[in-house]
Symmetry: C2
Subunit: 341 residues, 2 copies
DNA sequence: CTGAAAGCGCTAACAC
DNA sequence: GTGTTAGCGCTTTCAG
């Protein structure tokens, strides 16, 4: 038989013929214990290879020092960057990060949130799934006073902290950029219109058209799930219009890439004949040929901010709910820069 | 004052005037409880909004139903894909995934492992940091009989489960491919030689040269950290050699991209004058121009396999340690395909 | 400055 | 089929 069991504070108390409470206090640097005994206890703890059992202490303290993060897809650059940012500040603050992905499925998201709740996360950071959904599972958290931070894809009617980028402004500026480059029939591959960020992007686009007195043609907007397949499909369809567009404002970089490849393979010249712009600044958008004009969403910083906000809330430092709107940045690249400015 | 406390099994026991153990058993579908009472209890639990406290049950059961995963960098496509695969099977098996990144730093890796241990993860999946390190922290886990699975970057001297791809074979085949395309002075941007996967890649390269009776020129191998900056630097240096190479086998896709961009900007023709190949099949390698020949490392599958193995071990189903070597796949693209076959 | 005792919420051996 | 009891390992009042 292996002596498998970990030493506990009782074991070390027994060796020193003192009480477990003294050991507990010493290990937690309670000033009521003399420095001498504190040192003695710590030395022995080290020697015995003692490791505090956080399950026990968390149970007792009714907190887990754990925060959850749920994203649609872990291996999407934007989301993995956010996770990376969350991990960065969580680790420094002594929090553990548990992670899960909804795969953009409503049902899975609900299960995840319930499971994280059962596991007593101290707070949750989430970007909601694309699939339309009630938000009862999230309202439950609010009701139980578990801090909740939305990022990127938020639920407007839930009052809590939110970190978003200025989608409207991003869309406005990138559309304005296309107009400045002389494009006039600008199509928009819009994302699902149950998500506010995609609504905002569409509205920014419309606003730019309006401001420049370009009449808006509804047939130039297609709302899709923004996968590369649907992107290609949409571009094909738009190109078959009696009056095809001369530029494409794509809801993300993935569909911008689809558009670029499709048009390039058709022998179209980019940016001379067709302008293409995306959204998010995925790593590939910089290195493809032609490189793709896009809007930067600073994932790592979003993750850091979200974690800071959440931990502040958990530790009850923060006051009222805030919505942080991070400024975006337009990066002009080859795919739309036909005036070379 | 808010009635903040969650209902417990005692609360629901009190309402029904039964004992807590009966409630516990009913909720866990213990067959010793009559179906009638089971249903009654479950109905009330639902009504009261009862959620089991897994901290308590885990403490009692001396297990956490949690597995840890530590990677060098979360927002690298390969690693986030692995994480995604781990999450996929863990969630289905009712396990929670906690995540952390070492940022390739030895010290941080040690801290992470200790912290995960303190949090009583049931098992750990890890790809070790680039920075050279003792592996005492990992040996500790083995000593405590906490299941451990290595993937990609392993510690050879620790006996445990390992999932790797066949780096040697991948390097051999991709080098052979360059030779088949008529390249003869093939340089190699090697990774840090304290990691077995990079050693294997170098050896596969050497073996291919040898088999084709190409004399090996040590000045054509540079060992770097495989960042894009160091990649550019290395290519520059190699091009300044009295006899520069005519092809580059880069240790990863990032450096292959650096090489490609550097040579392209110098007006060199790829693949006509210079062949370039990478390793890992990062998403960008397919879409850049010219697209980059590379070796597929199936991240998602690696993650799934790692989690299956780990969970099997946790549940004591598995027998002896195994090392799974996943086959790699060569994808020939434009950057090396000058004979168009 | 230290100890005794109770309890966080759940489970399981043992009794009936 | 159900209840009693003890305890997982830690923290914290209350006493001294």
């Amino acid at each position: 038989m292996i002596k498998n069991s970990e030493p506990t504070i009782h074991d070390i108390a027994r060796v020193l013929s003192i009480s477990a409470s003294t050991v507990s206090r010493a290990l937690n640097d309670n000033s009521r214990i003399s420095l001498k005994t504190r040192d003695k206890i710590k030395a022995l703890a080290l020697e015995m290879g003692y490791r505090p059992n956080s399950l026990a202490s968390n149970l007792r303290n009714k907190k887990s020092k754990t925060i959850g993060i749920v994203v649609p897809l872990i291996n999407r650059y934007f989301f993995s960057s956010v996770i990376s940012g969350v991990e960065d500040v969580a680790f420094k603050s002594g929090f553990t990060v548990v992670i899960s992905q909804s795969s953009d499925l409503a049902q899975k998201e609900i299960e995840i949130v319930h499971s994280m709740f059962a596991n007593r996360v101290d707070g949750l950071i989430i970007s909601i799934a694309m699939e339309p959904n009630t938000s009862d599972h999230l309202k439950l958290l609010r009701k139980k006073h578990i801090p909740l931070v939305f990022f990127d894809r938020v639920v407007p009617e839930i009052e809590t902290d939110k970190i978003v980028v200025d989608d409207f402004d991003g869309a406005f500026r990138i559309t304005q950029h296309l107009i400045d480059q002389g494009y006039r029939r600008i199509a928009h591959l819009a994302g699902p219109q149950n998500l506010t960020s995609y609504i905002d992007r569409k509205n920014g686009y419309l606003e730019a058209l309006k401001k420049n007195e370009i009449t808006f043609d509804p047939s130039l907007i297609v709302s899709i799930r923004l996968t590369s397949e649907e992107g290609t499909q949409a571009v094909k369809q738009l190109m078959n219009l009696p009056q095809p567009p001369d530029a494409f404002f794509c809801g993300n970089d993935t569909t911008a890439l689809s558009a670029m490849i499709y048009l390039r393979d058709q022998g179209r010249r980019i940016p001379e004949d067709f302008g293409i712009v995306g959204f998010s600044n995925e790593p590939f958008s910089k290195v493809v040929t032609p490189s793709i004009t896009t809007i930067v969403q600073p994932g790592f910083e979003i993750g850091q901010k979200a974690a800071e906000l959440l931990i502040g809330r958990i530790e009850e430092r923060e006051q009222s709910f805030k919505t942080i709107i991070l400024p975006i940045e337009l990066i002009v690249r080859e795919s739309s820069n036909r005036r070379k400015n």
